[in-house]
């Protein structure tokens, strides 16, 4: 019986010729990731167990992004603990304020993830790197701590759902709309413990940034990972970033899938997930009566340069509606600088938005845009759970950068093509 793309990568890293769904394996890891809120717990476990060395100082990445620049004294202490650990063990890839970015935008940008590699991160959105044809999945801090010592971890080999993509996206429609539509169809536990394997002719119609957004939210369907085949678009992205040999894995023609979901990209509409689950997918056209107080454009889901360009195209020559706050967060310093160079920052400032240094802040209700009771935000982030961005009686509506920008101008949820 053939293997899926995920199964082939896992077999390779377990040193096995083949694996089957449900099998427990021990796999070698190419990268272990942590951030400023998950790494302190991992360090405590690592030290309590008495480990005195890491498996490979070049294969650990620590990114200070969630509550950094430090939001308070406790957050500062957590970053300090990570910094001390990184210096003590000579960790090569330690990213702090000034060179950091939001981890899942930063690692691909820096070439720290390549196709065919196996990555775990103590952050649930580590599944983002499936866009590059890597196996990557989120774990907890103890798993991270153990992996920093051992360089390997255990997995249960997942079964798979094949998402067969055809057609081409319409104007204003993006990868965000694709993944929100998919989660709306299969539900927030529709792919629980499984891999989402994207395939079909529609893949070639999706930019690497659309794919990064789609893989990023695989976890929002409960998936272990969400992976794309490696093609010319992938190669163009990793070229000049990844300077080590890498392997493109392909699913076997007779790979077994638990189900196949067909998706015609030309039928995907600008989509908004209503509170309080990412599966509550609605057309952006249904939201004209929903007044909003804030928009957030950024995060590991939608903080890339094309995301900022899509928002700026809507905001250029326009202004946010009265009493709407606009928070724009380029995901990395490189994107930040490029947004300035291309004049996007001016567009945002002219429209009445602020442009922040990279941080996860508002997405998880940390800081930089917390909501009061009764307030609503259209956000390009990934979760709209109760209290996610602030008060338990606030609401988050998940959308693409274009829809968030249009909604900011209109003062209510708005399809970009209905702006005057």
């Amino acid at each position: 019986m053939g293997m899926t793309m995920t199964q082939k990568i896992l077999a390779k890293h377990a040193g096995l010729d083949s694996v089957r769904a449900g099998q427990l394996i021990q796999a070698r890891l190419d990268l272990v990731l942590g951030n400023d809120i998950t790494t302190p717990v991992a360090i405590n476990e690592f030290e309590a167990a008495g480990f005195d060395k890491v498996f490979d100082q070049s294969k650990i990445a620590l990114v200070m992004d969630h509550f950094a620049p430090n939001k308070d004294i406790k957050a500062a202490a957590q970053c300090k603990q990570c910094r001390t650990f990184a210096r003590r063990f000579g960790i090569d890839h330690y990213f702090d304020v000034g060179e950091m970015g939001i981890e899942h935008a930063l690692l691909p940008e820096k070439g720290l993830v390549a196709p065919g590699e196996a990555v775990i991160g103590a952050d649930s959105h580590t599944c983002t790197y499936g866009a590059l044809g890597a196996f990557s999945t989120g774990v907890g801090s103890t798993d991270m701590g153990a992996a920093m010592a051992a360089g390997e971890t255990w997995f249960k080999v997942p079964s798979a759902i094949k998402v067969n993509l055809t057609g081409k996206l319409r104007p204003f429609v993006s990868g965000k709309d694709v993944i929100l539509t998919l989660i709306g169809r299969i539900g927030v536990d529709g792919a629980r413990y499984q891999s989402l394997e994207f395939a079909g002719p529609g893949v070639a119609e999706l930019s690497i940034y659309d794919r990064l957004t789609i893989s990023n939210m695989a976890i929002e369907a409960g998936a272990k990972n969400g992976i794309f085949p490696v093609d010319e678009i992938t190669k163009a992205y990793v070229e000049g970033r990844v300077n080590r040999p890498w392997t493109a894995f392909e699913a076997d023609p007779d790979a077994e899938y638990e189900r196949v979901v067909d998706m015609d990209l030309s039928q995907v509409e600008c989509t908004v997930a209503w509170p309080h689950l990412p599966e509550n997918a609605h057309s952006a056209r249904e939201g004209n009566d929903i007044r909003i107080d804030q928009i957030v454009i950024g995060s590991c889901t939608n903080g890339q340069l094309p995301d900022l360009e899509a928002a700026a195209a809507i905001l250029k020559g326009r202004h946010l509606a009265e009493d709407v706050r606009g928070i724009v967060i380029p995901a990395t310093m490189t994107i930040y600088r490029e947004a300035m160079r291309r004049g996007l920052t001016d567009v945002f400032l002219d429209a009445g938005c602020i442009v922040s240094t990279p941080t996860c802040g508002p997405c998880l209700g940390g800081y930089m845009g917390i909501l009061a009771a009764g307030e609503r935000c259209v956000s390009t982030t990934n979760r709209n759970f109760v209290g996610r961005m602030g008060h338990v009686d606030s609401e988050v509506y998940l959308a693409s950068p274009a829809v968030a920008a249009a909604s900011g101008v209109a003062g209510h949820i708005c399809h970009p093509d209905s702006l005057a």
């Binding site: 717990v41 167990a49 969630h66 774990v139 103890t142 798993d143």
Partner: protein
């Protein structure tokens, strides 16, 4: 091993943001985390919970963020076991790694109500509802996971050179 206590009951898709809101993730301290456990969906939980109590929920318990602070907060609040119809995968892994007993059992999830007195026998996987005089059979752990839990969790297994499958 056996536990017994009063049940705190929740619905489907209880996410880790409501188990421990991110605004409290600026500390890894177990007691501080426990003080805010379930705060955003059950403000009374931390005042009501007694050592040994159980948490019972519907499908996809622990979905969302990978924060290990979530099972840590539940464990440090005194909860002896979480029973759900299904668990999200990262939460499942984290709970085992830190030694918070969890059981998947759709029948128990459906049959048990808030306030019921429930006993769990981890060796047999039998869950007994003393209030309703019912029993439910939970899925047993795979031997590899059982072995890891008996050794005291992932780190203890790794130190013993036995964390591999």
């Amino acid at each position: 091993m056996n536990v017994q206590g009063t049940v705190h009951k929740y619905g489907d898709h209880v996410d880790t943001d409501v188990i421990i809101p991110a605004r409290y993730l600026n500390t890894p301290d177990h007691k501080e985390l426990a003080a805010h456990c379930m705060e955003d969906i059950d403000g009374d939980f931390i005042r009501k919970v007694k050592p040994g109590d159980l948490m019972v929920a519907g499908v996809n318990f622990g979905c969302g963020s990978s924060r290990e602070h979530a099972p840590i907060a539940i464990k440090a609040s005194g909860v002896s076991c979480v029973i759900a119809a299904t668990f999200a995968r990262i939460f499942y892994r984290n709970a085992i790694n830190i030694g918070l007993p969890i059981l998947e059992c759709p029948a128990a999830s459906a049959g048990i109500a808030a306030g019921d007195q429930v006993a769990v026998d981890f060796d047999t996987g039998v869950i007994t509802n003393l209030t309703k005089n019912e029993t439910y059979q939970a899925e047993p752990f795979p031997p590899f996971i059982k072995d890891m839990m008996e050794k005291g969790g992932l780190m203890a297994s790794l130190k013993a050179g036995k964390a591999g499958v």
